[in-house]
């Protein structure tokens, strides 16, 4: 199936991990421009969106006193009517940065009013992509029993249906290597850098995201998880089951958490606690060769 390099329309709905955000123009000549690979996550507008973002061009001015400074390109400010104000900044040189976007969010995140600087919407086409989409998605997913992990994920069909393997670890541990090994052996790549992990009725699912590393793609499929692996490169292949408390700690430090409210942080903790209680988790010691898949499947109890 071919995927358009970009998608341009007055409104667009992105669906990631079961959450839908619709971006719509608040001005008649404004368009939403979705680049690849976000285009793979464009979904029908027929179903209701979890959050509707109304977009207009203007001068973002979040105010003087942030309530939270991320240390990255975004900050939080007091919003209107009990909600938050999310500001995204860009460097303009000499260590100076200025706000390029400002989103006023309702307390339950069902709506947002987004002001975008004209320089960030050339030709009056607003680019719908990172970091705004990830920042909103992470908070919405948290409220729905899901988290975004620094992890890669691949899936394959088996006698009992599709199943996913999730690979996490420190930078350079081999998340992308596992993706390469999996893909050349016919497995489907969900993501190579950020993966949604969700729990529903004590079943754990993984879903791809468009926020990628070198693989530069992603797949929107949502697949039951067979096992979660913490990668360690080694001279031999082997999987060692992890205790739930260790799995919780390892996943917690690798969770994307741009949360504003304590309830969202608590939701992330609750989700991870349930995930490690339901999913098989192991340390995967591996050599970068195709043979590691045998170890992965054996631990996961896969019949493939």
């Amino acid at each position: 199936m071919s995927v358009a390099p970009e998608h341009v329309a007055p409104s667009v709905t992105l669906g990631i991990g079961g959450v839908r955000i619709r971006f719509e123009a608040a001005e008649s000549d404004l368009r939403m421009r979705v680049p690849f690979p976000q285009t793979r996550f464009v979904t029908s507008a027929d179903a209701p969106a979890d959050c509707v973002v109304r977009v207009r061009i203007g001068e973002p001015d979040p105010g003087p006193n942030p309530t939270f400074v991320s240390g990255g390109p975004w900050e939080l400010y007091p919003g209107k009517n009990g909600g938050d104000r999310l500001a995204i900044f860009a460097a303009v040189g000499d260590g100076v940065r200025e706000p390029v976007m400002q989103a006023d969010l309702t307390p339950n995140l069902d709506r947002a009013e987004l002001i975008v600087h004209s320089r960030y919407a050339p030709g009056r086409n607003f680019p719908v992509h990172y970091p705004l989409d990830e920042l909103l998605m992470a908070r919405l997913l948290a409220r729905r029993g899901a988290v975004i992990l620094h992890a890669s994920a691949v899936s394959e069909e088996g006698p009992k249906g599709a199943g996913a393997y999730v690979f996490t670890g420190h930078s350079g541990a081999g998340k992308s290597t596992m993706v390469e090994i999996a893909e050349r052996n016919g497995l489907r790549v969900l993501s190579d850098d950020r993966t949604v992990v969700a729990i529903e009725n004590e079943a754990v699912f993984a879903a791809g995201t468009p926020w990628h590393g070198s693989y530069a793609s992603g797949c929107p499929d949502r697949v039951p998880v067979r096992a979660i692996f913490l990668l360690e490169q080694s001279g031999a292949d082997g999987a060692i089951a992890m205790s739930s408390d260790r799995a919780f700690s390892e996943l917690m430090v690798r969770t994307v958490r741009p949360m504003a409210q304590r309830t969202e942080h608590v939701a992330v903790v609750d989700t991870l606690e349930r995930v490690v209680g339901s999913a098989r988790c192991a340390v995967l010691k591996f050599t970068p060769s195709d043979a590691v898949l045998d170890t992965v499947r054996y631990f996961a109890g896969t019949d493939c």
């Binding site: 939270f68 240390g71 205790s243 739930s244 408390d245 919780f248 700690s249 917690m252 430090v253 958490r257 949360m259 304590r262 942080h265 608590v266 903790v269 606690e273 490690v276």
Partner: protein, 96 residues
């Protein structure tokens, strides 16, 4: 005489998972993003939902655990200092 009271803050979340008592900082850039408690410390953390003094916490340990007062007071002191060092406690100075 000043009697300082302590209460746990809302920037940390406690969980008991697979037998381990974990304290998780909400913000990743916290001094200690995550650390483990002993069962006694976990009991003190739960107790710190309400304002408590060090003598009050010591009394609680003596009454509920097999520990002498000197040992309990030492444990409470170390635990309170540990929580203060990672910003997990609110303090309220009062006159005793």
């Amino acid at each position: 005489m000043t009697k300082t009271q302590y209460r746990r803050d809302d920037r940390h979340i406690y969980r008991h998972i697979a037998g381990e008592h974990l304290l998780i900082a909400i913000h990743r850039e916290a001094v200690a993003p995550m650390f483990t408690f002993t069962p006694t410390a976990a009991a003190l953390w739960i107790r710190l939902e309400d304002w408590s003094t060090r003598p009050g916490l010591t009394d609680y340990l003596v009454e509920n655990f097999e520990v002498d007062r000197e040992g309990a007071d030492r444990d409470v002191g170390e635990f309170v200092e540990q929580l203060l060092s990672v910003g997990a406690l609110q303090t309220l100075d009062g006159e005793g």
